[in-house]
């Protein structure tokens, strides 16, 4: 659904004055520190050629009657989208709002008055005064007949199919067909479990030839690896010899496939779809901050799939982002606090850290992270101004970017962290200073910083505090490790490359001593005997107010908003 909580530039409240450039900014953020950044409305997500039906102010509209309901829709939209607005879900396979229209499955046929034949509603543009029937006996008969035809060569191997439970064909069969088979001729056999690329396995028998994936590869990554071969009932989906499907967005074909013809190797046989729970959150793989659903069960993440967001990512996300759930691997989690290599109670570790940081005239450095949330970075800024620490900011190394969705900056919150940190030095300088033993104490916000051996041994010798969610080289080198919650356990906000607020929702409750970073820093500050800097929740509330984000505001005020939904009760995907 359109993310109405992230205001587009047209609906923004009056902006705050632009902050001065980072170099000249003074270091004085307080508990109410702001991470507000002007939005950049330049890059647009790869969007559909299909117009949504909602009327837009200033755009021409038409009036159509769908099953007796009169609706006013945007001119140029198709009947299928208009029916959606009227509350009628016309079943379809080949139509996808983010792709061009093929009208090849014929599943969405509707009756239009004064038209002698049934029309594919996906291809039929609305016209003024059009009268559409989506549930007339002719339409129902056509739907049923076409489903039977689609199922003729479908192997019905749902027990071993990864898509079972979220399959569009299963849903349509249950809703519209629901009859026993009349086929008494052998089914056409086609290649099964064929490896067609880095991420994807093809089962050509299950394919219903909707060509969504073919259109996707041609239109979004513009690589065009997939194609149809042969004709009639022997027609099958395949890749060309020597040209496997391995573009940066290849796993989207799994999501848009209405059946289980294209399945992800990564998710293959991992878990059944109906066992999963879904949490709407944000991808932390790069600065784009795509809206995603994290699918998880028993505090373990299984996959990430994109969620529609008109302002950021449209319907898609990249393969790289889908693999970020592997960071949440339970075996790598830091569950208990550690001081000098020994596991201790959290309160004890916080007290030790406070005592060692407190010393008079100590030279302390704090390290902000572009991979951590605004709340965590703002809390660290408060700590820095309270103890007069030197500020550094670190982030993940740059990677590959393109002009579809991926950004070369692999930090989800580079802009928010920079705004919270103020005038901060960068990681190169930090490495030099640490290797030169310039500081007696250093606080790392997360394990992003890559410590070389020299720096690692320097960290062992001084008071180094790391708020780590998973074990890594940095947390191994630090003398005090505080267990922090990962991005899947955090209520927080990020600011993406366009300056838009992206919301992190907790998928499950952090187990053990794991706490949100902002709360850990607050406890640290309290243990030092300083004033209360506010909890993570209070910070989120303040950020939600500044940005006018009802999504984040709901999250901090309503316990229900944080509860994941069972995928069994959500709609089929694809």
């Amino acid at each position: 659904m359109a993310n109405s909580d992230t205001p587009s530039s047209a609906t923004l409240p009056p902006r705050l004055p632009d902050p001065p450039p980072p170099a000249s900014r003074t270091v004085a953020p307080s508990a109410t520190g702001s991470v507000r950044i002007p939005e950049v409305s330049a890059a647009k997500p790869p969007m559909a050629p299909n117009l949504p039906a909602e009327p837009v102010e200033g755009q021409p509209t038409v009036r159509v009657v769908i099953d007796g309901t009169e609706v006013v829709v945007r001119k140029g939209t198709n009947v299928l989208e208009a029916a959606k607005l009227a509350g009628k879900d016309i079943c379809h396979f080949c139509y996808h709002p983010g792709l061009s229209i093929a009208a090849s499955c014929r599943q969405c046929l509707v009756e239009i008055e004064k038209n002698p034949k049934l029309q594919p509603s996906c291809q039929q543009t609305v016209a003024e005064g059009m009268v559409v029937h989506t549930e007339s006996p002719t339409v129902l008969e056509a739907r049923r007949a076409l489903l039977e035809f689609t199922l003729k060569n479908h192997p019905i191997d749902c027990p071993i199919c990864d898509k079972a439970g979220e399959c569009t064909l299963q849903r349509h069969y249950m809703d519209h067909d629901h009859q026993l088979t009349r086929v008494d001729v052998p089914k056409i056999r086609k290649p099964k479990h064929k490896d067609i690329g880095r991420e994807i396995v093809l089962d050509a028998e299950r394919c219903i030839l909707c060509s969504r994936c073919v259109r996707f590869c041609e239109e979004i990554p513009k690589t065009g690896e997939l194609g149809m071969q042969f004709r009639g009932e022997n027609e099958s989906l395949d890749v060309a010899e020597g040209h496997p499907l391995d573009n940066a967005y290849s796993m989207n074909v799994v999501d848009i496939c209405p059946v289980g013809a294209l399945t992800a190797k990564d998710f293959r046989f991992a878990i059944r779809a109906w066992e999963l729970r879904s949490t709407h959150t944000t991808c932390t793989g790069c600065a784009t901050g795509c809206a995603v659903e994290l699918h998880h069960r028993h505090e373990q993440a299984y996959r990430i799939v994109p969620r529609f967001d008109a302002t950021t990512n449209g319907h898609w996300m990249c393969d790289e982002g889908r693999h970020t759930y592997k960071e949440l691997e339970p075996s790598r989690r830091v569950r208990r606090a550690r001081v000098d290599g020994e596991e201790v109670l959290l309160g004890h570790a916080v007290a030790m850290a406070a005592r060692r940081l407190r010393g008079r005239g100590r030279k302390v450095a704090v390290v902000f992270s572009a991979a951590a949330s605004n709340e965590a970075n703002l809390a660290l800024a408060d700590l820095a101004s309270l103890i007069g620490a030197e500020r550094y900011i670190v982030g993940r190394p740059a990677g590959k970017g393109d002009d579809v969705l991926r950004d070369a900056d692999k930090n989800p919150n580079a802009r928010g962290a920079a705004a919270a940190a103020g005038a901060a030095k960068h990681e190169g300088e930090l490495a030099l200073e640490l290797a030169g033993r310039a500081y007696e104490a250093v606080v790392f916000l997360d394990g992003t910083f890559e410590a070389s051996d020299v720096v690692g041994s320097a960290l062992c010798a001084i008071t180094s505090v790391c708020l780590a969610d998973r074990a890594g080289p940095l947390s191994d080198a630090c003398t005090i490790v505080l267990p922090a919650s990962s991005w899947a356990e955090t209520t927080g906000s990020l600011i993406n490359r366009h300056g838009r607020l992206r919301v992190l929702r907790p998928a499950w409750r952090a187990e053990g001593d794991r706490r949100e970073r902002a709360d850990l820093i607050r406890e640290l500050v309290l243990a030092m005997g300083e004033r209360d800097i506010g909890s993570a929740r209070e910070r989120s509330r303040a950020i939600a107010e500044q940005h006018g984000s009802s999504e984040l505001a709901a999250l901090v005020s309503d316990a229900k908003a944080t509860r994941p939904t069972l995928l069994r009760f959500s709609h089929s995907r694809g």
Partner: protein, 192 residues
């Protein structure tokens, strides 16, 4: 329609007042059963099953749909029929079935890497058998779960479950083109 009413006389005769004849009558009935069931051949009219005695085959007394300890059936090639679809573990009200799926690397594609049933948690409802789409799990062993000294011994793995199994009579991969001839007998809805 009138209802027939049996009228019982509450009048007590002298014979009733004495009680002794009635007591003797009762003792006589007991004595008759005693001598009939112990002295005659073939146990008289006793319906008691001598459970646990070595010469008694308990399975003959159980109905065909009796639900006992689970077993896993084989394919034609001797491998497990289960395709790890998780239908049984999903439907199980006691959540006592734990399956981990794996890629079988053959035409069956998917199979269970591990298939564990905790017989102590099992409520013997038989829903797993109903849910199974490929006749892989059955409860027709007519064996009760025997008491165990340790809890772990009541948690059965794939090997133990298959040791009770056998080849299934269900046609592997469905009936195929001949289904029109066979199916109406199996399911009358096909004949319509």
């Amino acid at each position: 329609m009138t209802i027939g009413v049996k009228k019982v006389s509450l009048h007590r005769t002298a014979r009733d007042q004495v009680f002794l004849p009635a007591i003797l009558e009762g003792l006589l009935t007991s004595a008759r059963h005693f001598f009939k069931n112990t002295m005659t051949k073939g146990m008289g009219d006793v319906d008691t099953i001598r459970y646990g005695e070595p010469d008694v085959d308990i399975k003959t007394y159980y109905p065909d749909r009796f639900r006992g300890v689970h077993r896993l059936m084989y394919r034609d090639d001797g491998s497990v029929r289960c395709v790890a679809c998780m239908c049984c573990s999903t439907v199980c009200p006691a959540k006592c079935i734990y399956i981990v799926a794996e890629d079988r690397q053959d035409n069956a594609e998917k199979g269970p890497a591990s298939f564990v049933i905790d017989e102590l948690k099992c409520v013997v409802c038989g829903l797993c058998v109903e849910a199974c789409p490929c006749d892989a799990i059955r409860m027709d062993t007519k064996q009760h779960m025997t008491p165990t000294e340790r809890r772990e011994d009541a948690v059965l793995g794939k090997v133990e479950l298959m040791s009770r199994g056998g080849p299934s009579v269900a046609t592997q991969g469905g009936l195929g083109p001949e289904f029109r001839a066979v199916a109406p007998q199996a399911d009358p809805r096909f004949g319509q």
